[in-house]
Symmetry: C2
Subunit: 241 residues, 2 copies
């Protein structure tokens, strides 16, 4: 019996027709479909593919055992998550070893700050794994602003808003174009870092890029509460003939 393949499939930023033709074909054809979600939620990845699935699809919701209840710096956080990824990697490996293909849904691009990476590192070499790249959430966000993000020789820096304020500040000062992800409750800190770097007025906030509830606004007009998956963009000002 030949082994199955685990497919890590990038879904892109949120609109179903922004997934690749290859991803679309794999999702529509999937008999076994796995995706991450917070317990009790539908899950963003699963929401994107609603209406595309086979009637007989077998679904494997992989529910994070912890999200914000334990700080990421707490050793228990890594321990709990490590066990979670190991368990699911074992289940997917068993399926593939039994000859079953499994499609794992990935928001954005699987190899860019994605949860699938933690399964990939545990499955690689054990069973066949294929990764289908996707349009990143940040591409969706800068497209939503209606302005190009990088010109000529602009340097682009991508930061997580979870970083310390002084790190954010120094990185923001040093770059031409900027993308900041995972914002949520880190917004006040990010706002201070941008202001101190003289870039608050040039920053845009994009919530739910390329989804029906998309909102785009100058960051200084943004509310205090924004979703975790909001993205801040500062456009580069490089050479343009």
């Amino acid at each position: 019996m030949s082994r199955g393949t685990v497919y890590g499939v990038g879904l892109g930023p949120g609109a179903a027709d922004l997934m690749s033709v290859r991803a679309d074909r794999l999702v529509r054809g999937a008999a076994h479909l796995a995706y991450f979600r917070k317990a009790g939620r539908a899950g963003q990845a699963r929401t994107i593919v609603e209406g595309m699935l086979r009637a007989d699809v077998q679904e494997y919701p992989m529910e994070y055992p912890v999200t914000t209840e334990i700080p990421v710096t707490d050793p228990r956080y890594a321990e709990v998550l490590s066990g979670f990824y190991a368990d699911w990697a074992a289940k997917l490996r068993d399926l593939a070893e039994g000859g079953t293909d499994v499609v794992v849904l990935c928001e954005g691009d699987p190899f860019f700050y994605g949860s699938f990476m933690h399964l990939h590192s545990r499955l690689q070499g054990a069973v066949p794994v294929e990764v289908v790249p996707g349009i990143t959430g940040m591409s969706g966000a800068w497209t939503a602003t209606g302005k190009p993000v990088t010109w000529g020789e602009d340097v682009l820096t991508v930061l997580m808003a979870t970083l310390p304020e002084e790190v954010l500040h120094d990185r923001i000062v040093a770059t031409d174009a900027l993308v900041v992800m995972k914002i949520g409750r880190h917004l006040p800190k990010l706002r201070r870092a941008l202001a101190a770097a003289g870039k608050l007025g040039a920053a845009w906030l994009v919530e739910h890029a390329q989804m029906p509830q998309e909102r785009v606004m100058p960051l200084f007009e943004a509310p205090e509460q924004v979703p975790y998956f909001s993205i801040v963009v500062v456009h580069g000002q490089g050479r343009r003939p």
Copy 2:
């Protein structure tokens, strides 16, 4: 008579089935199709869509008046290119004002270091323009290496190899994950900057990512001559439970 729309359509890194479902539909339906290319060449964007076009499609190859004949620092370079973009923007505007939709093919993502941006800035506000994001060439490249590019709180820096050696060096030292684009004849300089930053051994070179002629290799094994559109990737080593 209603005006037409100019569509800037991201084609992704190179494989036809890595364009989005939306891009695929626009390309297959296009009656008027424009794309950049070097004079005398088929053009990478046009090559990607070969076999997908309507039999009666009208094509507008936009041939760069200059590529490497004049240094980018020479004022004539900006002048010649500026006239070129202005002329084509006027032609596309005329088509749209006459009620015709035009699809402009863009390699990768249109708003990420793309030529379409120079048309977009001249058309915006004059006629309807819509941008369809695409999978970036860099996503195609890091996927081709088989390893995730960014983990946890990794900082990602994107650089053009055309930058001065000391700028490259300082940026390479300061980042966790790295993407360098537009390499070509700048390879020896980039190699020295990576070596001085202690990262040459960790760097990967990807040529023609996600195309039939794709090649992936450790940078220290790369030949002296590589294509302009090669991409160098240094993977981040951030938190991974």
